[in-house]
Symmetry: C2
Subunit: 288 residues, 2 copies
DNA sequence: TATTCCGATAGTGAC
DNA sequence: GTCACTATCGGAATGAG
């Protein structure tokens, strides 16, 4: 079988010994004994990471490289065997999500949704779990397939939550879902372009139009969050608090984006929003 | 009905009074009381002209502008009425063909086929007869529709000869052919790309490939003709003739092309080829 | 569903 | 089947000692 380096690059990362010293910082974001977390080379949102199971962590445990080729090959091994890998990826994803949220607050002073899931029909070999922020604002998000492959309501993106449920379900249901037939999933990528934002779902005929709209949605969201912070700051001043502003850290953003400036620190915000949450007993929309 | 200037530009030419003094030389090539011969703005071959019936020449004779909108509307008027216009266009086409052949010899020192015919489904309003040299070598020949719309064997291009035969045929046959249904003709423009040259008919997957091949065919044809001239010149020297070379005229070429140089004049060539034809009793391929 | 390159295909707007 | 512009769609190559 002839494969270009590009299609097997993830496997080459997954083969690295522990610690993966020869993986540059521009690729490797984090790692554990069992997983690697890497920056997606072509991020489709502001934050976009891939979690990979490390081959050496599983080959001593009854798995082959082939088992780890894709979600489909992994699920073929059965619920128990697949479940162990999926749970390891889930654990790494939780860490990654927490890191991304921390960086969201550091850079943008608010958190927003993060989608975690698999592609049923991947192009690159070696199973990879996507951790991607719910904005779809990125210069690498270029075509309909890119977009439709990440929208949870597009029926292509398989959330980790869904896959985890299959693993706990009746074997007959699991086997049905584990088929992951490309003939079933591929057509879904050709669906019309619909904005994924709640209370919008507007349709677009072209990618440039959709992208302009997504940028607008993102700009509006930032403006709303800024206004919210300013209301909170005002409230805080009234209540007599006296903390000063401080610069934020950096390191996880996978695409260039402009954070709005503010005189509130991340810590102030989290503190204030947390207290407000308790007071108002309402849902926050920043975490799925 | 809303039409852009581009779609009705031919009608605006056809409305010009006699003589059409305000039509620039870059557009008007020739005219008679009944017709205009204009350069095709986007020539699909080295030579490409359009023959138009002039509106004032027919409106006093029972025709409306609408009758002259297209071949289809003209034929709707019946065989006799359509025939008069077609014969006028034919007469102008004969003059045009002679002029083009003269210019072929002046510039390229040989003649090649000239196709004369209509498009059954035109885009521009006002009936126009195409007079186009059989080379399809032009920077304006850009897509499959352009190409397939002029190849006589492509079943789209209606030669003047064919249309003239309809006019003399049984009314039932005439009426059938006069329908010119776009649903019948349009699909023919999507046919595969086949070289139109006799003894070739090679298929091509892309326009750049076809165009490269057509350029090659043209270059080879020019080389063959040059070799032929040189053989003739040698023959002529042996027979003791002593005519000198002279430069050629210009004015009809509708696209930039490079003529091969030669020391033979057009007159020499025609004279020699004529005499050779008689001697060898073989076909020449330069004139149909 | 890796990207990139090339080219075909499709829709639009033109005054 | 007018053109020119934009964007989509569709295939093929992609590495490399």
């Amino acid at each position: 079988m002839i494969n270009s380096a590009q299609l097997t690059i993830l496997r080459s990362y997954a083969r690295k010994p522990n610690p993966p010293v020869d993986l540059p910082e521009s690729i490797l974001f984090d790692h554990s004994d069992k997983t690697l977390t890497i920056f997606d080379t072509y991020p489709k949102s502001i934050f976009h990471f891939l979690i990979l199971p490390r081959i050496s962590a599983y080959t001593g445990d009854g798995y082959t490289e082939r088992d780890l080729t894709s979600l489909r090959t992994l699920l073929k091994g059965g619920q128990e065997k697949a479940g162990r890998v999926i749970r390891d990826l889930e654990e790494a994803a939780k860490v990654c999500v927490a890191q991304v949220e921390e960086e969201m607050v550091a850079r943008y002073k608010f958190k927003w949704d993060i989608w975690v899931g698999f592609h049923p029909v991947p192009s690159m070999e070696h199973i990879h779990l996507h951790v991607i922020s719910a904005d779809m604002v990125s210069s690498s998000m270029k075509n309909k397939k890119h977009y439709n492959s990440f929208i949870p309501k597009g029926d292509f993106f398989l959330t980790l939550k869904d896959v985890s449920e299959w693993l706990e379900a009746q074997p007959s249901f699991f086997r049905k879902m584990a088929e992951l037939k490309s003939s079933e999933y591929e057509p879904r990528l050709k669906a019309e372009l619909a904005c994924f934002h709640e209370n919008c779902y507007e349709l677009f005929k072209t990618m440039p139009q959709l992208k302009a709209h997504l940028q607008e949605e993102w700009d509006k969201r930032m403006a709303r969050e800024k206004a919210k912070r300013e209301r909170l700051e005002k409230l805080k001043r009234k209540s007599g608090s006296k903390k000063a502003a401080s610069p934020s850290a950096s390191g996880t953003t996978a695409d260039n984006s402009q954070a709005s400036t503010s005189t509130l620190t991340a810590e102030d915000l989290v503190e204030l929003e947390g207290s407000q949450k308790k007071r108002r007993k309402t849902d926050e929309s920043d975490v799925e």
